[in-house]
């Protein structure tokens, strides 16, 4: 400070000299750097990219070395324009200022949207190229996620071929269901969903809380079609969806965004992450933190008839918040130890309010912890995960019919497990083996406040499994995969009982089982597949695989009301099975145009269906049939999925896919002689025979755009394929939605987006004649730094 004062009081000519000197020193100190150094990485997984091109405009072109590093010298300017490119990745233009930094530049390239040779991990639990895996795998790429108008992670899945997707109320739905391969869209349990390789279907009902996965944290999604029980066991009947979260590739990266939209929807989101080298050891530490919240005042979902009949109807609203933190250590070249913690809470009003502060609401408090080790032990690759997911589910129910009824459902659903896979290569063979353990439990009760009843149900299931798989490169062109998995499970501590029953639940008294017998079951799941690949883009494959879904705890240990009657718990319920015979082909007919198609035939047996036990029960409004979930149906499913992808350039691409499925009950076995229902020859409910999707994305200097058109064909509403009382129709009407996303990046750091879902405002309805939100528009502003 004193020096500044002296400078201000020295004579004028001397001031000029001193000023000139300072200026000279400043210029000297900031003169151009000679060299720029850095490296190029894959943005999807942080891996280095050897051989990538780095073109420093006006100074020449270099390639990255084996470690992904580059260096360009003899520079005469502080500001440089660089063009970074690599085969299979989107080229990137960067402007750098050497005054600020001369080394340690890190450039991440996004994979192109059509990457038939991208690495996938789900199909075999090993790293494999898509076309080296004789299984149908669909990739939801970062590019597709970026260019799709969506609110939830499951929204983007409907763009993949043959995906049967249900989220009837958009962000106001407390659950979404994503199935495939002709299996009913009423239940999630027939498709396995993984989060970074860890199963997130709950043992209680097979459900997945899609809302808890922040789309901002997702890097890509792998969809493996057809049964995958040979490698993953339970739930993998129709396929496997593996959501893979982002891994940081830069020292620090923060994205923060705000959004606002239809129905007074507001949200904020922060996605941050970074890596730090630990000395010169080659080890590094990385971290990721994702935070999000959203709220909306909502809309009235109920049908006009319900609105007329019920003066207590209000808007279905929502608010949610979530945190996901992941941290890990990369050590000893190729070993990674990471831990992830999730928290999610939501509060969704279901559109009716009598006396409770928020009316009828569902509330999830979910906690998850995952510990993962991925690395090498000698020549053996190891991938092992420990996980613990707990969901505290609360539902407030209140309604007035003859009198006021208010009860709360409180359910603690927990899944704890340990998955381990080890892979070792011997010549042309790659063996993968391992074990999985899982403990699922539910401890739930319905507590009434307008009577003294409390209805309890609880149960636990342990599943143990061993699996072995051999991937054999028979020759340059033939590849065979054979695998077998053995699962065994125990159901125990099951109970269903009522305390202080009144007329509200007295009808259930005869079905109390306070101490259910222990049950055992086992499943053997083989898979064998062979492919012939005659060049890098073309192949055919043949596949046989078997899948199963275990009985869920909710069916094993809970009795209660269901639509059309009353269901009683069936602790003896066994798994259901499906065999799958499949053939597929991938072709690149002309350059940049990729075509793929799969044909499948999937007979199922022991399918779990509600079947009348021949008795009736009066639940307070007349006699209704009693159902029990039983292994009574054989089903026949066959279909075709076909897809075209055309990548005109790195900035312009198109896709179209179509699927047809035929899903029929072949043999329905009654368990009561007076059961008048015969489902043989009936179609499975909630399965569209036809699904069509087409879209494209275009990146340009003005505004980037992504457009998707999705057609969901008609679906049968009820098991008997008869006219539904509420909808007065045999089938749900087919419908088409159009989604549009526009976005633009400003000054590298700012992004403005407009999401328009259901652009044409098509109204479609669920089984209760409740209507979808129609057109849903949000705008968001994002800052990257």
């Amino acid at each position: 400070m004193k020096r500044v004062l002296y400078f201000l009081i020295i004579p004028g000519h001397l001031k000029a000299v001193v000023a000139s000197g300072i200026l000279a020193l400043f210029v000297l100190s900031t003169s151009a750097q000679d060299c720029i150094r850095g490296r190029v990485l894959d943005a999807s997984n942080g891996q280095i990219l050897p051989g990538a091109s780095v073109n420093v405009i006006n100074y020449g072109l270099v390639s990255t070395d084996a470690n992904g590093n580059f260096k360009v010298c003899s520079l005469h300017s502080d500001t440089l324009t660089m063009l970074i490119s690599f085969v299979g990745y989107q080229s990137k233009e960067e402007h750098v200022n050497l005054r600020q930094k001369a080394s340690d530049y890190s450039f991440s390239l996004e994979p192109k949207s059509v990457l038939i040779n991208d690495l996938v991990v789900t199909a075999t639990r090993t790293d494999n190229r898509v076309l080296n895996t004789p299984v149908r795998v669909n990739l939801i790429t970062p590019k597709l996620i970026e260019s799709t108008a969506l609110q939830n992670v499951d929204d983007v899945l409907k763009l993949a071929p043959g995906i049967n997707y249900s989220r009837p109320f958009g962000i106001f739905s407390s659950k979404a269901i994503v199935t495939m391969r002709g299996l009913s869209g009423k239940e999630q349990g027939r498709v396995l969903v993984l989060l970074d390789g860890v199963p997130i279907n709950k043992s209680d009902g097979g459900t997945v809380d899609w809302n808890m996965v922040d789309i901002g944290s997702v890097q890509k999604i792998e969809i493996t079609k057809g049964p995958g029980s040979a490698i993953y066991g339970q739930n993998a009947m129709g396929g496997i969806i593996n959501i893979i979260t982002r891994a940081p590739s830069e020292a620090i990266k923060i994205r923060a965004s705000v959004e606002a939209g239809s129905f007074w929807t507001f949200g904020e989101k922060i996605n941050a992450g970074g890596t730090k080298k630990l000395g010169n050891s080659g080890n590094s530490f990385f971290w990721v933190a994702n935070l999000f919240n959203k709220s909306s005042k909502g809309y009235i979902t109920q049908s006009p008839a319900d609105r007329a009949a019920n003066p207590y109807i209000i808007k279905s609203s929502m608010k949610e918040e979530g945190v996901n933190v992941k941290a890990g250590l990369n050590f000893k070249s190729g070993n990674t130890l990471s831990a992830m913690v999730n928290y999610y809470n939501d509060h969704r009003g279901t559109g009716e309010k009598e006396f409770q502060p928020d009316g009828n609401v569902t509330d999830h408090d979910s906690y998850g912890m995952t510990l993962n080790y991925k690395g090498n032990s000698g020549k053996t690759k190891v991938n092992s995960s420990l996980y613990n997911f707990t969901e505290n589910y609360k539902k407030v129910n209140e309604y007035i019919k003859d009198d006021y009824t208010w009860y709360n459902v409180l359910s603690v659903r927990r899944d704890i497990g340990w998955n381990t896979a080890m892979t070792r290569t011997y010549g042309r063979q790659e063996f993968t083996g391992g074990f999985d353990f899982r403990n699922g439990s539910v401890d739930a009760y319905d507590k009434y406040y307008t009577s003294t009843d409390i209805v309890y149900n609880k149960g636990k299931m342990n599943t143990y499994a061993l699996f072995l798989q051999d991937e054999i490169g028979l020759s340059e062109k033939f590849r065979l995969i054979a695998g077998l998995r053995y699962d065994m499970a125990d159901f125990y501590d099951g109970a269903f009982y009522i305390t202080n029953p009144t007329m509200e639940t007295a009808f259930m008294k005869d079905y109390q089982v306070p101490d259910m017998p222990v049950q055992h079951w086992q499943a053997l799941s083989p898979r064998i597949s062979l492919q012939y690949k005659w060049n890098e883009t073309d192949r055919i494959y043949l596949l046989y695989s078997k899948g199963f879904r275990p009985s869920v705890l909710d069916d094993l240990c809970r009795s209660g009301r269901i639509k059309g009657g009353f269901k009683i718990a069936n602790p003896a319920l066994k798994p259901e099975y499906i065999d799958n015979y499949e053939a597929g082909i991938d072709l690149q007919a002309i350059e940049k145009l990729n075509f793929s198609t799969s044909l499948f035939y999937s007979p199922g047996k022991d399918f779990q269906y509600y079947v009348s036990n021949g008795q009736t029960i009066d639940m307070g409004f007349g006699d209704r049939p009693i159902f029990i979930r039983a292994n009574i149906s054989k089903v026949e499913i066959y279909g075709i999925e076909t897809e075209f992808r055309y990548e005109a350039s790195s900035d312009l691409s198109f896709y179209a896919n179509y699927s047809y499925t035929h899903s029929l009950i072949r043999d329905y076995k009654k368990i009561a002689s007076n059961d008048t229902i015969n489902l043989s020859g009936k179609y499975l409910t909630d399965v569209p025979a036809h699904i069509f999707t087409a879209g494209g994305n275009w990146n340009n200097k003005l505004v980037n755009a992504g457009l998707a058109v999705h057609y969901n064909g008609p679906m049968y509403i009820n098991d008997q394929n008869i006219k539904d009382d509420i909808l007065q129709s045999v089938q749900y009407e087919g419908y088409t939605t159009v989604d549009l996303k526009l976005w633009r990046v400003f000054k590298d750091h700012y992004r403005l987006s407009l999401n328009v879902m259901n652009l044409l405002d098509k109204k479609y309805y669920d089984s209760k004649d409740a209507v979808c939100p129609g057109r849903f528009i949000t705008g968001s502003f994002e800052v990257n730094f």
Binding site: A308, P311, S451, K723
Partner: protein, 313 residues
């Protein structure tokens, strides 16, 4: 946040202060997170005096038992009331009702009929939203003789379905008078019955309902604006299973059959499948028992029902 706090307080004294502060904050968090365990008491009083049945009273068969209830959740809403009649042989639930009564508390009178048991204990139970119960009981003995009462008989009343406004649609069963929308004004609080037609569970259903049944507004939207909406309860089990025959209905000269036909454990404000020839036991909000004989039931929304009604005077 706590890490930041410690980083900025490096001196020992500051560290001590920070420690105390964090202990204090921790205490506050602990206190704020501790579960609220206090429960509100439920209070219950039975009305006494003229018109209300006293403990130990002797009432002849068919005589009226009138129980008046005053209850409060004492700061928590009152949500449940139940009345059981316990005899030496069985327990019959006479009333099992979810309610929502806030700070004003709950007050209601209930009317029942004495049956043939020698001694019966009536237990009245209320519960608040904290699930705290309160109970009172009355012992009632059988008096001498019988006290079956007179009835009103309305041999033919026509009621229009929801889309038949040309016919009277709103029935005051006590007086046997039916009203149209046009002449209803001022009589809303007297209406006990209305009817409509729909298809449910795949079956055609001429249906009796009442203004107090929530879903009735779907067919009669004007109910939304009514200040008083009476609830009539129909014994749907007797109706579904034809437990009362037309001959029994025709033979009834006093309220004996009306009282005994109505079983309170399977009742609703909505009674489906009321086809021609059905006999429907009911109880009005005012506590009067009755029987409806369906003389004719059209199975269209524009049709009508023709009924005979016998109801306690």
């Amino acid at each position: 946040m706590f890490c930041l706090l410690f980083r900025k307080t490096q001196k020992p004294q500051s560290f001590l202060k920070a420690s105390w502060l964090s202990v204090f904050l921790g205490f506050l968090i602990f206190v704020s997170c501790s579960k609220e365990t206090s429960e509100h008491k439920t209070t219950l009083f039975l009305k006494t005096g003229t018109g209300f049945t006293a403990d130990g009273a002797s009432i002849p068969v068919g005589g009226t038992i009138r129980i008046g209830v005053q209850a409060s959740g004492s700061g928590s809403a009152l949500t449940y009331i139940r009345i059981d009649r316990i005899t030496a042989y069985d327990t019959l639930v006479q009333l099992d009702r979810g309610i929502y009564a806030g700070s004003d508390g709950y007050e209601a009178d209930f009317v029942f009929s004495k049956d043939t048991s020698e001694v019966e204990t009536w237990v009245i139970t209320v519960m608040n939203a904290d699930r705290v119960l309160a109970s009172k009981s009355l012992v009632i003995k059988r008096g001498t003789g019988t006290a079956y009462g007179d009835i009103n008989y309305f041999p033919s009343i026509s009621l229009g379905m929801q889309s038949n406004s040309a016919t009277e649609q709103f029935l005051d069963v006590d007086k046997g008078i039916a009203y149209t929308v046009g002449n209803l004004n001022g009589h809303e609080a007297d209406i006990d019955m209305i009817c409509y037609y729909y298809i449910t569970s795949g079956l055609s259903s001429p249906t009796f309902t009442c203004p107090g049944y929530t879903a009735a507004v779907a067919y009669y939207p004007m109910l939304n604006s009514w200040q008083t909406k009476c609830t009539t309860l129909y014994d749907y089990r007797s109706t579904d299973n034809n437990l009362i025959s037309i001959d029994q209905f025709d033979a009834a000269q006093n309220d004996s059959l009306l009282v005994t036909a109505y079983k309170p454990d399977k009742v609703s404000g909505n009674c489906k499948y009321c086809y021609t020839g059905k006999v429907v036991p009911f109880k009005t909000q005012a506590g009067k028992y009755g029987l409806i004989k369906v003389l004719r039931a059209d199975e269209t929304e524009t049709g009508s029902l023709e009924v005979s009604v016998k109801v306690q005077k």
